[in-house]
């Protein structure tokens, strides 16, 4: 055994040196014509130069003038050089926020890493043949991934709190004012100022950030303004993550101390059958009122119905684990592939970030105000602090309601009460999304 290997080594080294000595011109070996045609021999110096030119450093300093972006269009030199570096630094910032600050890491980490990969020069991973591009076309451009995420989220959702106090659903409706108010704001600023220049479709896609639902935002952005997908997704998940920072000041500004101490009655027990009928009932209502919202509501209720049926636990488990995790990884990378410098480092992105936080804040405020309006009518009083949970951002917004409530009365547990508007906000956003789709059909 040892001998054989040593002989092999000797043979090999010998052949190597023979080749090194051989003159390039001396070669008379015939090569079949169809082979090698794709390879052109070059002197060593040219190869080294070629290598040096193909390094990332070189590509970032002296960009290839013929390089195209992932859509086959020309890019400015800035977007090929400094822009890429800035984008990579932005993804590092997102890493920091996700890991250190706990900003929705499940989606921000894959999105940010996808963005990092998408901004690598030469490799062109976000192009149609790169793996990010392949994943994008596999499930994001056709909106399959957000639908699958919605199934998993549905399978994780418990509609019990909403069923035990149905009227809190109105809070989840009011919070959608964040979407439509921002839409008006965006088109107004586009029309009367030179700050932005968004179309109606783009404005609609941006304002859905106020719905505080990642998959819904991605779904609508892919349909109405795919060119803004990266910025909208990043804004959407960032703001959802910033719920504990954004919401409390608004909640406190709009409520009195007495209101914050309102105690809500204990939730009644909800039977299994109610939970089982509810998803189908909502879907039927969506069919009757707004069929355009049924892809989102249908997928959501499919997941929820499978869970509540209690007879397909293995499917429900898979939806809540393996399937949603796999799709989350793919969705994140695919969204990240849209964070290329030429698409993200444009003034529009700042505008999207600004409009997004307005949408979010308006939604929060609307929910709180709605609760106050509802308290003007007779009946059990609602603690307006749960109004903010109507934006969705399940379950963080509900936790924020609970936390703010406990700041004023440590024995006032609002969590379960806030879960009602919280899940109603998901339905409300899906309805709003359906409306936006139907406007442009």
């Amino acid at each position: 055994m040892k001998n054989i290997i040593l002989k092999f080594l000797v043979l090999f080294v010998f052949l190597g040196f023979t080749g090194l000595v051989a003159n390039e011109n001396a070669s008379t070996v015939e090569l079949s014509a169809h082979k090698e045609e794709s390879y052109k021999t070059q002197p060593m110096s040219t190869m080294v130069m070629g290598f040096l030119q193909s390094t990332g450093i070189s590509a970032l300093i002296n960009p290839d003038p013929n390089e195209l972006n992932s859509h086959g269009k020309t890019m400015s030199d800035f977007h090929k050089t400094g822009g890429r570096v800035i984008m990579i630094l932005i993804t590092f910032l997102l890493f920091y926020l996700a890991i250190k600050k706990g900003f929705e890491p499940l989606l921000l980490l894959p999105i940010a890493f996808g963005g990092l990969l998408a901004n690598i020069p030469v490799a062109n991973m976000a192009g149609p043949d790169g793996f990010l591009g392949i994943i994008y076309h596999m499930g994001l451009s056709n909106q399959l991934f957000p639908i699958l995420i919605f199934m998993g989220v549905g399978a994780m959702t418990d509609f019990g709190p909403l069923l035990s106090n149905p009227k809190t659903a109105l809070l989840g409706g009011a919070a959608q004012f964040g979407i439509f108010g921002t839409l008006v704001g965006a088109v107004a600023l586009s029309q009367y100022t030179n700050i932005f220049d968004f179309t109606l479709q783009q404005s609609s896609a941006i304002s859905i950030i106020g719905g505080a639902d990642g998959p819904t935002s991605i779904f609508i952005a892919t349909k109405l303004a795919p060119e803004l997908l990266g910025a909208i997704a990043v804004a959407s998940y960032s703001y959802m993550a910033m719920v504990p920072i954004i919401q409390p000041p608004i909640m406190k500004a709009l409520t009195t101390d007495a209101e914050r101490r309102i105690r809500m009655t204990t939730l009644r027990h909800v039977s299994r059958l109610e939970k089982l009928v509810f998803p189908v009932m909502v879907l039927v209502l969506a069919i009757l009122v707004l069929p355009e919202s049924t892809p989102l509501i249908g997928a959501f209720m499919f997941g929820n119905f499978l869970k509540e049926s209690g007879v397909v636990e293995r499917l429900s488990d898979t939806m809540q684990n393996a399937l949603i995790n796999i799709v989350t990884i793919f969705l994140g990378l695919a969204v990240g592939s849209k964070l290329s410098a030429d698409q993200f480092l444009v003034p529009d992105t700042l505008a999207i970030l600004a409009l997004g936080i307005i949408a979010f804040s308006v939604g929060t405020a609307s929910g709180v105000i709605m609760a106050k309006i509802m308290n003007m009518f007779p009946g059990h009083k609602i603690n307006p602090l749960i109004g903010s949970a109507g934006v969705s951002a399940v379950p963080m917004a509900a936790r924020v309601s609970n936390k703010v409530g406990m700041e004023y009365d440590r024995t006032n547990m609002l969590l379960m009460h806030a879960m009602g508007p919280n899940v109603a906000g998901v339905i409300g956003s899906a309805v709003a999304a359906g409306m936006l789709i139907s406007f442009f059909k």
Partner: protein
């Protein structure tokens, strides 16, 4: 003639918020009807509730028992 997008946006808002509330109000009404029907005609059997309760209780008991066993062992 160019469109005034702001007016369009306001139309969207009216129609959009209107539909959202319409949908949710219909949903609330339906939920109430559904709950009434279910509580009247398909009341949940008491045993089912308590059995789930019991199971959770049992699990807790088991955990308590193991914990106690471990504590006992440590002290011993």
């Amino acid at each position: 003639m160019d469109a005034n997008l702001v007016v369009e946006g306001l139309k969207f808002m009216l129609l959009g918020m209107g539909t959202v509330f319409l949908f949710l109000i219909v949903m609330i009404v339906s939920m109430n009807i559904m709950s009434t029907i279910i509580h009247k005609f398909f009341p949940e059997p008491k045993s089912a509730i308590s059995s789930t309760g019991n199971q959770a209780k049992d699990n807790k008991k088991i955990i308590a028992a193991i914990t106690a066993a471990i504590t006992h062992h440590r002290q011993g």
